[in-house]
Symmetry: D2
Subunit: 418 residues, 4 copies
């Protein structure tokens, strides 16, 4: 086991740990540790809500999920010699749930959760069709997840961090705040909001001194979106064996990470769509000096996924086009066409006895693939969603004999949007 440079005690809150991480992006958050190029180290990660979501059969916790508190990130970690303009190479050597703890109140201790946020508290990809809060608890048996809330399905996890990234420079942070503020200003009262501005409430800023805290909290960017520094990319194949290259914007690079997922479908469509959990990451870092310019990488992360994904040979795929449910034709809107593809998959699964919400939760959590199949055939883009058929305990293919009916012991817990 590599040296743990960011330990977490499962019995304590995130803010009460020996080393305190952060839940906002800001260049002034000081490193909690420094590593050298070539170093291998372990980092513990807390699940993104720090225990607010529990292993029960109610969705009240999802309804009231404390969004201003996320994401609880481990770091920042400074890399010796890293300077703006470099590429930071990060190898994900290993990643898993909370080591040696398979029961307990924290997601990652043998279980995880998927939620549908209510429209008034975050919403999700299909919030217009799914305004209420729902939850599914997933139990881990070895590398396999199954849920008492979604019958007759199980799958091998593809564990990954949803979020990893380098610290922004002051200039980059200002750019984020300006452009996101401009967007919010176009419809400031929208529910769900268009974007999330800096929010001092619930800000955790690691070792920022008290004297600077309020200023920094008022400037620091929220962690929800992916940005130039990587961040909350939620890429399901970002699993062990992955090598990623991040632009460096500040001295030391200041790498942070968190939001582990046991599994996720492309898009993480319910917002809280992956199987959320805490756990650990074993990482190795290196530098390509001046690599941003050498390779033309300045505002995105490049990565090479690992080679140990679960192997599937058969998929059932659904397509969607950029026509709204009301029949309105939109112009080449791949976001809409993916929504329609997902809705088609949900429609299909309900014929097997799943509730619409069970199907939606499943698409968020299972290793489905979402593809941009056609993006030029005016006026319709074509997106597709692929379901691996072997995750179902029954034959999910269309046939002359008609759909099997699942036996649902328990519905997915629900709490009404308010």
């Amino acid at each position: 086991m590599p040296e743990v440079i960011f330990p977490l005690d499962s019995t304590k809150k995130f803010e009460d740990q020996e080393k305190v991480g952060h839940n906002r992006w800001h260049p002034e958050i000081p490193p909690v540790a420094t590593v050298k190029p070539g170093d291998v180290f372990r980092v513990h990660c807390r699940e993104w809500f720090d225990g607010a979501i529990v292993n029960d059969d109610s969705a009240e916790d999802i309804l009231n999920a404390p969004l201003p508190t996320v994401h609880k990130l481990s770091g920042p970690f400074a890399i010796e010699g890293a300077q703006p303009g470099d590429l930071l190479v990060v190898d994900i050597l290993d990643v898993g749930p909370v080591p040696q703890e398979d029961s307990g109140p924290l997601a990652g201790q043998g279980w995880g959760y998927t939620g549908i946020f209510s429209t008034n508290n975050g919403g999700g990809f299909l919030t217009e069709q799914f305004p209420d809060a729902y939850k599914a608890i997933w139990d881990f048996t070895g590398q396999v997840a199954s849920s008492r809330h979604i019958p007759e399905v199980s799958f091998t996890g593809l564990i990954h961090p949803g979020l990893m990234g380098t610290a922004p420079s002051a200039e980059l942070l200002a750019k984020w705040n300006k452009r996101e503020g401009d967007l919010i200003a176009t419809d400031p009262n929208r529910v769900p909001p268009l974007a999330l501005p800096p929010l001092p409430q619930d800000a955790v800023l690691g070792g920022v001194p008290q004297s600077d805290f309020d200023r920094v909290a008022g400037e620091a960017a929220r962690t929800a979106p992916p940005r130039e520094n990587g961040g909350n990319q939620d890429i399901k194949n970002f699993s062990k064996g992955t090598r990623v290259f991040y632009p460096v914007f500040v001295n030391g690079a200041n790498l942070s990470m968190g939001d582990l997922h046991f599994s996720q479908g492309d898009g993480e469509i319910t917002f809280c769509g992956a199987i959320e959990m805490g756990g650990f990451l074993d990482l190795r870092v290196d530098l390509i000096k001046g690599g941003m310019d050498t390779y033309g990488v300045s505002e995105n992360a490049i990565f090479m996924p690992g080679i140990v994904d679960p192997r599937f040979s058969e998929w059932l795929a659904f397509s969607g086009t950029s026509v709204t449910l009301d029949g309105e034709q939109k112009y080449l809107d791949s976001h809409l066409s993916y929504q329609r593809a997902c809705l088609h998959a949900i429609d299909y699964l309900t014929k097997f006895g799943y509730s619409r919400e069970q199907a939606y939760l499943l698409l968020g959590a299972a290793p489905i693939e979402g593809r941009l199949s056609g993006v030029v055939d005016i006026p319709n883009s074509c997106s597709t969603v692929y379901l691996p058929t072997s995750i179902f305990d029954f034959d999910v293919r269309p046939s002359a004999s008609g759909p099997h009916q699942v036996e649902s012991r328990m519905a997915a817990p629900m709490a009404k949007n308010k």
Copy 2:
């Protein structure tokens, strides 16, 4: 070899064949042949421009590509017993270039092409950045494509029909025309246009009697977009071994197909982005009576891709978010985030000595994957594009030693947008 129910003679134009297909969707286009459930048959397909694009080193033909003439489709084929409400099962048993002809003036005779349309003649996914016309010719050696216009890259084809679908009912056609007309009306002079209205010019309508021709030509839908009937979905994995389920809207189903591709990247991003060619399809059809209701499939095609895709184990991936090149923040726009991901990949490839247009053409034609990675992390969606590293003759991964430089014998031919 199954019976050829739609033969094409490579020495004759599409309209001069023994059986004449069509290039518009309309329920009144009569079947050219009738098959039974369970039947296996062969269909020849002409490349979508019927020979207008030639194997040379000029892009004038792409600049002047006759868009009103596409797609040259084989069919319709009636399936005995098919009725509205059924699901039509189609197995793609085999698909390939023009059989036994590996040289000649038609794409599919040993070669194919990829084009970038100019902004004033169709445009493409990145037309703002690439306004001019470009072309790349690909030579086929066995199942492998390589191009004199794009050096040091080659890849195994994943041959597929870009377009297949059932005939719309009169009601469905009216719905298409209404919703697409409404969209066009919002900006009727836009270049490129928002959508393509019915166009009598260059309409080919198979066996529609002369008396009805003008009326039908005035109503018939263009074939560019995918719609409820499948159509021009441009799904790169729609290759041999694929089983697809189409909704049936008219008696007989009236299945048509065409627009073969030797290979394509997810999205077919240059519009004429696949390696375009003519060839053949061996198909088997069957019916699931009443299957549209049984399986909840009414406005999309469901499919199961085949199991013989080229096997890749290593990918280099680029991400993009929904911020414009000008720095404007957009709200969860997956179309934009895929554009940014592709532009990042193009930036990267230019560091190896490719021109920007060579890189763009390559992303259209090579078996890249485009994924909707994050669609909920407001305000940024995250799309990713994956390049299989083994298609390059050199090591395309970032490293401390810097990028290899390709030797370009010949640039991609260009013709100025006008």
Copy 3:
């Protein structure tokens, strides 16, 4: 289509063609054509028995299969500039059944066959347990094979030449004859024989002049075994996209090939175990001058299999050890342990309603994998055979609910060993 340098007319016998191939190895068989390094060309191949096995429901033809007549090979083809000591690079660009002919009396015209040879006419891997002759006919639908003689199973073909190789030098040929003669001499009357000596009867020697015919026929090696020149390796993954490197023993290399298989399991266990057929090969050749010494390749072929194998994700595997059916312990005998693994698989399949012969035929023809799992754990070697579960129409896995029973419309045809 590349130039056909070795055409075959399906209506004529192998010896009556425009160009006549051969069925023995000898350095004096003159080339039928000469190609240059870099050339791409097509070769037709006749099925190995030249039509003696027919598409019916009797096994009399298998019982009386004319073994002295095999293998009917296309070639030899001389490669300009090839000299002893070079490595000949051969790319299998494409391979398939008889082009454009899917019905007819020749295997490869839409169908193929698998046989169990009787003990007195060739035998096979399990001839002690299976002394009689059996046959299964396979029908090709696109790339998929199924058989009226083996119910409820079908699989995608992995088409390959069972046999390809360069001509031996006179010295190498003499070595073969010496060592194989020595082996035969240890038990000259064994049934089946230990090896096959030169046999003038039924020898086909291409353009060998009449004056030399009898001498050459008396020296020329039989084509059954693989040897230093490649030859009848029967490697199931030797499919399109494969690159192979052959040692060159004579000027021109003199490459020959044949014995096409639509599919085969590792080992080709019934001897006539693949799905035998005729068809075509598209090849490209090149040379690595002096490559035998440079790469230490002097008595074997090196190859790199293609990347478009059918994709399977789930396998059911059986192990065997080197203990005979009579309970005698043998010392690290991997041949025996693979026999026992195959017998275990056969035992298992009979529980699903297959006859033992149907199971044996299936293991010969389906894309099973045979592995040398343990070769050092004295006294037992451990071999394993892997069956892809998706080739069965039913769930072939062990479970508490017990085995499904197949409905056999027709048994595999049988003819008694005599």
Copy 4:
């Protein structure tokens, strides 16, 4: 983490643990714990030599490896309700090196080893060509192994137990002793021996009472070979996600396991050929009552490998036939043909600058595949060995530019056979 029902303290010898396992097979070795069908539990496993092989640059420990002491097995574990005639279902939920310990003197604490046994102490697959002892130490970085003793190669581990099995009945044990004794009697002084008879020296028999110890030790079977109960099968794909079905011969089944490998090539050719280590296994057990008869499984294990193997797309393969190095023709000897294939691969790798021993060690440890390609083409069987090309840091394919030369910082340690 599942409950640990067989804990091991890394600071203590195998015989000094809280629960003591065994290193012989005998029905009277009492269970150390009892589990129920459906139970999930963790078992620690000690590396097979219990620490005798150390992490240094000498091969003296391999030369003197205490073979009578192996394998140190965890168990037996009784399964409630298991009776002779049942099939015991075992799911390998997870498997890995010593949890949370990545440095220390025991293999499995961040490192492992591969050895070539000397001819006078065990030998191996190629002991005639490799009579001396050699060792390679492998370091684990995340899931990847690399060695200071074998330059420019690294690979993702496919961790698995080399040995797992149920207890033999008294009758089955007697059968083993009889047949193996008969074999030994044919050449009792052979070096290496033909088989290993019961050996009281160094026997560890768990809870066998003192009164019975000598008798049991005199009867108990050695653990080297695989047999009807599974045992030391050394199947490299027996990794996490695997489901295996064992015959049950005694009440309770009495399952034992050990001999973990970080990686192994098919055959484990150097005898100590895998990357040996200790670690843990998470297992789930179930029963198919009467399953031995229902499924025809009486003398072998059936298994279904997991779906998360490392993904390779390109392989370089070598073939061998059953002709000895001295040129003697053997009859269909797949053991010999695999030896020749491995020797061909070794010859090839030496051209890149590896010593013959480095190449041999690599073939034992890396995820190579060994196939029984042809087993019927008299007189030559054809075996093949496949090397994944991406495990090498350089291009290992043959080409006109000739082989790259590795820089060996250190040879593989050697100790002379005596």
